[in-house]
């Protein structure tokens, strides 16, 4: 329990330092308003952040290897995290700078008011898109190619059980992990994208149709959606996957069934939104005019309603993609999602998870499952940042 005592002592020290710091500040500046009106909570906040910064710098400068030559995993991970944060921040900043000076005047204007988090999101999405589209060109090997050396450790150093041909090592049946990580972008992101698209086509068209037709069709669809939404989506997906696994004769069929199951489950959420948005548009005068002109249902939905419902649907598409992506990753992690031999991040996390226990001996090996899981997290975080910014911009919220 010494850890808890240490934390407690540190907190008390910070609390005292905050009070003393504010007191000294008041005396030194002759009661300047900045210090005079500072609540204690704010002083505590400053002291806390200062203590955290000091600790971070001190910890960063600790040796990463003991004198005996063994790695100090905690320091190694901390350094990686700090490096990643700095690199990401610089990359996002440069990307925003680039966007401000290159491109049409409209995109330049877009980038001028973009917060750094949103620029980071756009950059990450672009990188993932390139990885997904050009995976066969970027990856050194195919995703299902089996090599002789199984469980080669990452690092590429033969002395420590690695292999220079496989920088991230090989998995338990000898497939190159770097290639599978890159192909994961194609499979996991691609399948999630197709599923979201399907959910939008299904939910969007039915929602607009319900908004235009009203009456019994609207009632029927809305009540059906109410029932489907009353079951938690992951639970429902697992139930349907059980049934699908009984129907599927080949493993790729299970993946196809999964796409349809998740698309149907998520289309209920899209239906709700597009119906609500459509209801607001249907009462407009130009819809009335189009109806009087004698336009058909298809023209009304796709040429009149859809262009005007574009903004909320686009934001919803980003959020929905995140949910679908996470659901697919969770299903794969649980072993009932995307099936081998397709490389997929969720499955990789599950297969590599045990390596996390070797963190003290080989930090890079322990980082493998974190890398696969982090690849999932990074994309969803990026999409969320962009959607957050889009919603903030379109709502005109300034707070």
């Amino acid at each position: 329990m010494s850890v808890w005592t240490m934390i407690l002592i540190a907190l008390v020290a910070i609390a005292v330092a905050a009070w003393v710091g504010r007191f000294v500040g008041r005396r030194a500046t002759g009661n300047a308003p900045r210090f005079r009106d500072m609540p204690y909570a704010v002083a505590f906040g400053y002291a806390f952040v200062l203590a955290l910064l000091v600790w971070a710098v001190w910890y960063y400068l600790q040796p990463a290897v003991t004198e005996a030559g063994a790695p100090v995993a905690g320091v190694t991970f901390f350094r990686w995290a700090v490096h990643a944060l700095i690199v990401f921040a610089i990359a996002a900043f440069l990307f925003r700078l680039l966007g401000r000076h290159v491109g049409t005047s409209a995109t330049r204007k877009l980038f001028r008011h973009m917060p750094l988090t949103a620029a980071f999101g756009v950059l990450v999405i672009l990188v993932y898109a390139i990885l997904a589209i050009f995976a066969p060109l970027i990856a050194p090997y195919g995703q299902a190619v089996v090599f002789d050396q199984v469980n080669a450790l990452p690092g590429g150093n033969p002395a420590t059980g690695g292999n220079p041909a496989h920088p991230l090592g090989t998995d338990q049946i000898g497939r190159d992990l770097l290639s599978r990580l890159i192909y994961g972008a194609q499979n996991t992101v691609g399948i999630a994208f197709v599923t979201t698209l399907l959910a939008f086509v299904l939910g969007g068209s039915l929602g607009f149709l319900a908004a235009v037709l009203r009456g019994w069709f609207d009632q029927l669809m809305s009540r059906a959606v109410d029932v489907l939404m009353a079951i938690p989506s992951l639970i429902f997906a697992l139930l349907l996957m059980t049934i699908a696994s009984a129907w599927a004769t080949q493993s790729w069929m299970l993946t196809v069934y999964m796409v349809f199951i998740i698309a149907v489950i998520d289309s209920t959420r899209v239906f709700r939104l597009s119906r609500a948005v459509g209801m607001n548009i249907v009462v407009m005068d130009y819809i009335e005019a189009a109806k009087l002109r004698g336009e058909g249902l298809g023209y009304l939905i796709f040429r009149e309603i859809l262009p005007n419902a574009y903004a909320p649907l686009l934001a919803e598409f980003g959020l929905r993609f995140c949910f679908v992506f996470l659901t697919i990753a969770s299903l794969s992690f649980l072993g009932v999602g995307i099936q081998p031999p397709l490389a997929d991040w969720g499955t990789m996390v599950r297969d590599l998870a045990q390596f996390i226990n070797f963190a003290a001996f080989s930090p890079l090996t322990a980082a493998l499952p974190i890398m696969a899981a982090g690849a999932i997290a990074l994309l969803t975080v990026a999409v969320n940042f962009v959607v957050d910014w889009m919603l903030h911009r379109s709502s005109g919220l300034k707070e």
């Binding site: 029932v227 938690p232 639970i235 996390i356 963190a359």
Partner: protein
């Protein structure tokens, strides 16, 4: 009156959901009888078991008898158990699904309870602080970090916590092997890591909602009045704004507890926590239909009940909704 209406709607939803679950399961190719007997099924044996289990009756009758059994707490016998008995002989001590689920259900409720005890005060406190120091560096940092934690998959957060709190600094155990006869403190220690993971997952939404609900009220005249009286900013928020913001906060807390029900599945698998979620995933893989059906029903019922509670609480806490014109 309006509460009775909501309750009736909730019961109706439950019945329809049970129909959906029953209907989904009856879409399976083959039936219980073939599944129990497996590959060694002779037509006579299949017919005999069908007769025993009443599978030759029409679907509607089967639905009602299943619903009746379920309401009496009889969830049937799992395939795995039946298979074991028919192959190994074995006596009459067949474990029913209900007896399999009961202890695990208690474990899951314990995990959800511990999570709620940590997450709710933490999230509401953080939300109040973010509203108090709105648009400051603290607010922005809280916003970005909660947004990141809500959009990461549960297993990512779980493995990060395992890496730092169990492997590098062995403070907490990474496996939650819970068994009967443990003392409460032992149990708490083993439950803490999964509970912390779930806390990270649900905090973001609650914190953002608390902050938004409070900031919404800060423009109202009575808050202005309190400020002009010279009340401190903390007191304005805690005594004047918070009571009026309680309805949306209670609502979002209940909704997030409902979300916990889903999050629990992945987290239990990561930490090998003997809860109902792990049983559910195992039976999905083994295609153990009676167990899948029962777990699904329990999850859906808990989800619907929590959503219903959220509805009713938000009506009760708002006089305008309590006495509609």
């Amino acid at each position: 009156m309006i509460i009775a209406q909501r309750l009736a709607l909730g019961v109706l939803t439950l019945i329809v959901v049970s129909m959906v679950i029953f209907g989904a399961v009856s879409m399976l190719p083959g039936d219980f009888a073939e599944a129990i007997l497996g590959q060694g099924a002779t037509p006579q044996a299949v017919a005999a078991i069908r007769r025993d289990l009443g599978l030759d009756e029409p679907a509607i009758l089967r639905y009602f008898s299943w619903l009746g059994d379920t309401l009496r707490g009889d969830l049937g016998v799992s395939y795995a158990q039946m298979n074991f008995q028919s192959n190994m002989g074995g006596g009459d001590n067949l474990r029913t699904v209900a007896s399999q689920i009961a202890p695990r259900f208690a474990n899951t409720m314990f995990l959800a309870g511990v999570t709620a005890c940590i997450a709710v005060p933490f999230a509401v406190g953080l939300g109040i602080l973010a509203a108090l120091f709105r648009n400051s560096a603290f607010d922005k940092a809280a916003n970005v970090s909660t947004l990141s934690s809500i959009s990461s998959p549960e297993f990512f957060l779980a493995y990060i916590l395992i890496l730092f709190l169990a492997v590098l600094n062995p403070v907490l155990p990474s496996l939650s092997n819970i068994y009967e006869g443990m003392t409460l403190s032992e149990r708490l220690e083993k439950t803490l890591l999964p509970a912390l993971t779930l806390t990270l997952v649900v905090t973001a939404h609650m914190m953002r909602m608390t902050r938004a609900a409070i900031i919404n009220l800060l423009a109202s005249p009575y808050i202005e009045m309190a400020r002009l009286k010279g009340v401190s900013p903390m007191r304005v928020i805690v005594r004047h704004a918070l009571p009026n913001a309680l309805a949306p906060i209670i609502n979002v807390v209940a909704l997030n507890l409902a979300y916990l029900i889903t999050g629990v599945v992945v987290v239990e698998v990561v930490f090998v926590y003997p809860g109902i979620g792990q049983l559910f995933v195992d039976s999905v893989k083994n295609r153990d239909i009676p167990v899948v059906q029962a777990c699904c029903l329990i999850f859906a019922a808990a989800y619907i009940l929590l959503n219903l509670t959220a509805d009713i609480l938000s009506i009760l806490s708002n006089p305008r909704l309590r006495h509609p014109k």
